[in-house]
């Protein structure tokens, strides 16, 4: 159950201090919600089309309800059919459907749940094929290759985006024009506008799940990432957006940008967590930890000064791991792997698996991890090299090689690698894929034959922040 739930309306006012009790209440409440969701879902499947249209409001509500993780295949299939007919109704009726969304976060919940179910279905299908033990399920899945197919999911998302003219609307807003002028019949209705908007976030997520990180970032071209953005109104959407954008940046080796994304949202969460003592916050806290793990990875690649709040929390949660990551070398590899595994999205493969060759159905996670680990290995000597260079202003290469007990030729390679990797693209303006190449390291050096010249960019103490914080405290 990793669904971010917005449907979790305010719990009964409770001001008891017992966390245990509170958790129990939350769990209890969640169970109820799920139970209702299931019931409604089954009801819907047993209804006829005519009856369904009568009761459209309940279908809208049902679409936003989370599906139980261990639901049997038939329920997953039925749920897919439900989504298809609902989206078909919304997209292909004569003209825009005259409906008010049940709540302002409904559209997010629908898209979120739709993608979540797609994601877990694909993972499940892949797992069944890999294990090859559940003959019954294999047979069912083999016969329905198009259920929860990638093309149909993308089709829904793109259709919602196009129908609502949401990209045109967002572009108009960027130019400070009235979005309604370009919204068209569909896009001027809140139902379509919101579905369209959250479909963009949904696309970001799907592309990222499929391993297409550059396209994932490209998708957000028209959305401005700031607190005024529409997604910021729905906490789960806000959170999800930054997680996937940050992750995509990390995979494109733009660690400074990734850190910026994760820090932004984590600071936001830590500032607002006091008002969110409910189920919603509960499910967010898991992703919260994942993002701290990702920050730890990014900081290891790109040492930088973090915001104090983040830094403290990071040391609390991943203190030991962070030290090992920052030390580099072969000992850091298992830590990188462990953190990546626990904090990456649940990658999927877009096509139905090969049921006849179970060995070919490698978990997509392993694939992406292997590629990521190659990059980690490329970089793993940089911390060692840097820690030595920091001590000198000039140094003989052969002497340093002796200290490190490596061949001079190897050391030359490490020096080149570290220099290359300290140059990164960093965002300044425009789309998320845009950016300028900047040198990110404070340590610089050049080789003159076997002599290494070293220089350091010293950062003067930053006092303003400290000063302001203490002023605020004493006032």
């Amino acid at each position: 159950m990793s669904v971010l739930q917005n449907g979790a309306a305010p719990l009964r006012a409770m001001d008891d201090e017992s966390d245990v009790e509170e958790e129990a209440l939350v769990a209890d409440y969640r169970e109820q919600v799920q139970y209702e969701g299931m019931e409604e879902l089954e009801q819907v499947t047993s209804l006829t089309m005519a009856q369904q249209t009568d009761d459209i409001q309940s279908r809208l509500a049902a679409a936003a309800q989370p599906l139980d993780f261990s639901a049997p295949l038939e329920v997953k299939f039925a749920s897919y059919d439900n989504y298809c007919s609902l989206f078909h109704f919304i997209l292909n009726s004569d003209g825009p459907v005259d409906l008010e969304p049940p709540s302002y976060y409904w559209a997010w919940d629908v898209i979120d749940e739709f993608i979540y179910q797609f994601n877990s279905f694909c993972s499940y299908r892949n797992r069944v094929a890999r294990q090859g033990s559940n003959e019954e399920d294999i047979q069912i899945l083999r016969e329905a290759p198009n259920t929860w197919g990638c093309y149909s999911v993308l089709n829904v998302l793109y259709s919602l985006i196009q129908r609502s003219q949401i990209n045109e609307q967002l572009a108009a807003m960027k130019r400070n024009e009235d979005p309604m002028a370009v919204a068209g019949d569909y896009g001027s209705k809140p139902l379509y506008r919101m579905l369209g908007y959250f479909s963009i976030i949904g696309l970001l997520r799907v592309h990222c799940l499929l391993g297409d990180f550059s396209l994932a970032l490209k998708t957000l071209d028209d959305i401005e990432l700031n607190k005024k953005a529409m997604f910021a109104r729905v906490m789960a959407a806000h959170f999800t957006t930054y997680y996937y954008v940050g992750f995509s940046y990390m995979m494109m080796r733009r660690y400074a940008d990734a850190i910026r994304m994760f820090s932004h949202i984590l600071i936001y969460v830590s500032r607002t967590k006091n008002f969110q003592k409910n189920a919603q916050y509960d499910s967010i806290s898991k992703k919260n930890d994942q993002m701290y793990a990702l920050i730890a990875i990014c900081v290891a690649f790109h040492p930088t000064r973090l915001d104090d709040t983040i830094h403290t929390a990071l040391r609390e949660k991943y203190g030991d791991q962070l030290v090992k990551l920052q030390r580099g070398g072969p000992e850091s590899l298992p830590i990188f792997e462990e953190l990546f595994r626990s904090s990456c999205p649940k990658f999927i493969s877009p096509t139905p698996p090969d049921f006849d060759n179970p060995e070919l159905n490698v978990d997509p996670l392993e694939h992406h991890l292997a590629i990521f680990m190659d990059e980690v290995k490329t970089n793993m000597w940089s911390p060692t090299v840097k820690s030595y260079l920091r001590l000198y202003t000039t140094m003989d290469l052969k002497k340093l090689a002796g200290f490190l007990e490596v061949e001079p030729e190897k050391l030359r390679g490490w020096l080149l690698v570290n220099k290359q990797r300290s140059r990164q693209t960093r965002w300044t303006d425009n789309g998320l894929l845009d950016g300028e190449i900047v040198t990110s390291s404070d340590l610089d050096y050049a080789m003159q034959g076997d002599l290494i010249h070293i220089s350091e960019a010293k950062v003067g103490r930053k006092l303003v922040d400290w000063y302001l914080r203490n002023l605020a405290r004493t006032y």
């Binding site: 297409d212 995979m251 610089d444």
Partner: protein, 245 residues
């Protein structure tokens, strides 16, 4: 000089149209993209964003995938190391592609065993380049005929790689011994001198190669000072006025 990842200077208009529309998912555009890859191979240009779109089409429609085009795209990515493009392309290939040969060769049914072998070989090259083990890169390239086949379609592969290597060297080197540079560039004698003087514009003095100073290899120390703006204090100042005295 910010260059967006999705931007390529001389991208043909029809490719641009496909990339910006839903046709990028249309299986019928695979042939257009494939021709574009061939064109890049011949004209020594690279358009990774378009190539990733083709790999995505292959990802969705495995039956359309052409092994040769896939390896050509990867080889093109090598010629622009140390950018992340090679990894980004790998991410879009089938998940079993990097599983060690022992596992996949045991499967006669796996139709694309040769592809995964080729991809793994190219990945070895990519790692050698990424780790700046340039002399090992050249010896590995020579060690197997398969490599010659793989790079055959990409015009000027070796020269493009040499230029990239020279570029990374110029970032951190002011002077380098000739034998070291020879092994890094994988060439000797007259060809070496011509490349160093003509293409790179570096100086040769006895057994030392001199790289002219540039922004990256001068390694000058700097002190970064905090940039304090009055706006940062606006809240404090406002509070001071609001406070009843």
């Amino acid at each position: 000089m910010g260059v967006s990842f999705d931007y390529t200077p001389d991208r043909p208009e029809h490719i641009d149209t496909i990339l910006n529309g839903l046709d990028r998912y249309n299986p019928e555009t695979t042939s257009v993209f494939q021709e574009y890859v061939t064109q890049q191979c011949e004209e020594r240009t690279v358009d990774s964003y378009a190539n990733l779109a083709l790999l995505k089409l292959y990802q969705f429609n495995p039956h359309l995938a052409k092994d040769e085009t896939i390896t050509n795209i990867l080889v093109k990515c090598l010629t622009i190391f140390p950018s992340p493009d090679f990894s980004l392309a790998l991410h879009l290939l089938p998940p079993h592609i990097l599983t060690p040969a022992s596992a996949s060769s045991a499967l006669p049914a796996a139709g694309d065993a040769p592809l995964s072998e080729a991809v793994q070989k190219l990945n070895v090259l990519n790692n050698l380049l990424g780790r700046a083990s340039y002399s090992e890169f050249w010896s590995t390239l020579d060690s197997d005929d398969l490599y010659a086949d793989l790079i055959a379609d990409v015009a000027g592969f070796e020269e493009l790689i040499r230029i990239r290597i020279a570029l990374t060297i110029s970032q951190s080197v002011r002077e380098i011994e000739r034998p070291v540079l020879e092994s890094w560039l994988g060439m000797q004698g007259e060809g070496f001198e011509k490349f160093v003087r003509g293409v790179c514009g570096w100086g040769l003095e006895g057994s030392v190669v001199k790289v002219p100073l540039n922004k990256e290899n001068e390694a000058k120390g700097t002190i970064v000072r905090e940039n304090v703006k009055i706006e940062q204090f606006s809240r404090v100042i406002r509070r001071a006025y609001e406070q009843p005295s």
